[in-house]
Symmetry: C2
């Protein structure tokens, strides 16, 4: 959630963990591999230039907390490579991951002035940082950007409703199948191949995303494997044996 497709990307270069640098003289967006997915897709050269002007790039190792729930929300982020998870916690430590953010996704929107969730890297990650104030100024200046952002927020809302249906009404098996399909579809939108799906997150993270336990996630994977719906490949890849089967299983049909 609150990951909004809105991004540019360039080759990760050798920046050290958490160190940021100004985008520099070259126009970074020109090399962006995910720009078409995002707000930037709709921008004129001038708008793009202005956006690039206010942005910085950052890299983080896996397992790094980008910001915590309640922190002052001064920056908007854009994933350019890697995977980020965002989650909320209950006082006793129960966790709900509300979204996994892939390259091209946008996050860090806040309601009041503090983040409503924690953002943590799942893999090594490259991010664009947009200072919130300057970003808001740009949005005011370029209604087209504003409109695009709004339409992306609407998409998010729709995805959130799907996730509520999943969390509230689907069985463990349906949840896992839906999750694999989601990853597959998101890969497809990014122009990656949809079938051996890359699943970079741990069983525990999947569990906290689907409202399950790691044990149940694990068991359900083996069950799907046993019934020849999927097979597990090297390098956190999942091969979908029968896509139609999986689609049906995801909805209990």
């Amino acid at each position: 959630m609150t990951h909004i497709d809105f991004a540019y990307s360039r080759d990760p270069n050798g920046q050290t963990n958490g160190k940021t640098d100004p985008a520099g003289e070259i126009h970074p967006c020109s090399a962006c591999t995910v720009r078409t997915l995002t707000v930037c897709a709709a921008l004129e050269a001038e708008e793009l230039r202005r956006l690039a002007e206010i942005l910085q790039t950052t890299r983080f190792d896996a397992g790094h907390t980008v910001f915590g729930e309640g922190d002052p929300a001064e920056t908007l982020y854009n994933v350019t490579s890697g995977t980020v998870k965002v989650y909320k916690l209950l006082p006793d430590g129960r966790r709900q991951i509300t979204g996994f953010l892939l390259p091209g996704d946008f996050f860090g929107l806040s309601v009041n002035d503090s983040y409503a969730y924690t953002a943590e890297t799942v893999t090594p990650v490259s991010l664009c940082r947009f200072p919130r104030r300057r970003m808001e100024a740009l949005l005011d200046e370029f209604p087209k950007m504003q409109r695009r952002l709004f339409s992306m927020a609407s998409n998010e809302l729709a995805a959130a409703q799907d996730q509520m249906l999943l969390l509230g009404r689907k069985t463990a098996k349906e949840k896992i199948c839906s999750f694999l399909l989601l990853l597959s579809q998101r890969a497809s939108r990014r122009g990656h191949k949809t079938n051996p799906v890359h699943v970079p997150m741990s069983r525990a993270d999947i569990a906290d995303y689907l409202g399950l336990t790691t044990e149940t996630v694990s068991r359900t994977f083996t069950q799907l494997k046993t019934s020849r719906v999927i097979s597990l490949l090297e390098g956190n890849k999942v091969q979908i044996q029968d896509m139609d089967d999986l689609l049906d299983l995801a909805e209990g049909a």
Copy 2:
């Protein structure tokens, strides 16, 4: 979900079910009781006038389907009185209510060109209807409206995340307590008294909102009643005996 605070309201007059009429000569927004909550709050007189120009008002009885999942999304709606529920269904009939819409809430946003959920009245309801095309034109013309709408969508997103935490990680008791608090807080934002909370929806609807069954909802209510946390009053009202207790119970603290 996808209820966005954005409204005007006027006294319901004797319109028959589903019949709409042009807003007429009088400026309806001037009598609006919920305008301050909504997009309209930010509008200049001129903008407000233009908005009123494109709007129609409608009334529906309880239990009426305003639109169904998959219907072409040609209209945006605004609740001015009563309660609406929006939900998604699985093929076998399992249902997840993703939101209850109260006066001042906005709904009908769509991703592609069809609604992603069904909207149905819980009580008799008055609505404003905005033709989508004309509304979009207005948004382009008035960036301030666009911005306000975006900020409301962000709020929705935050609420959606809270709901995911609830659905994925809270117990039945925590869910019910959270729900009562939510209703109380929403009443408060509307300037109604927060304590005897009005709960206009059925046990079945509450269940489908919280990812439970009616039986569990019912049992949990009696359990809370027995332990003196709440008491049930006439007319679908719930009296909260100890607000702090309820707040703790809602988070498992």
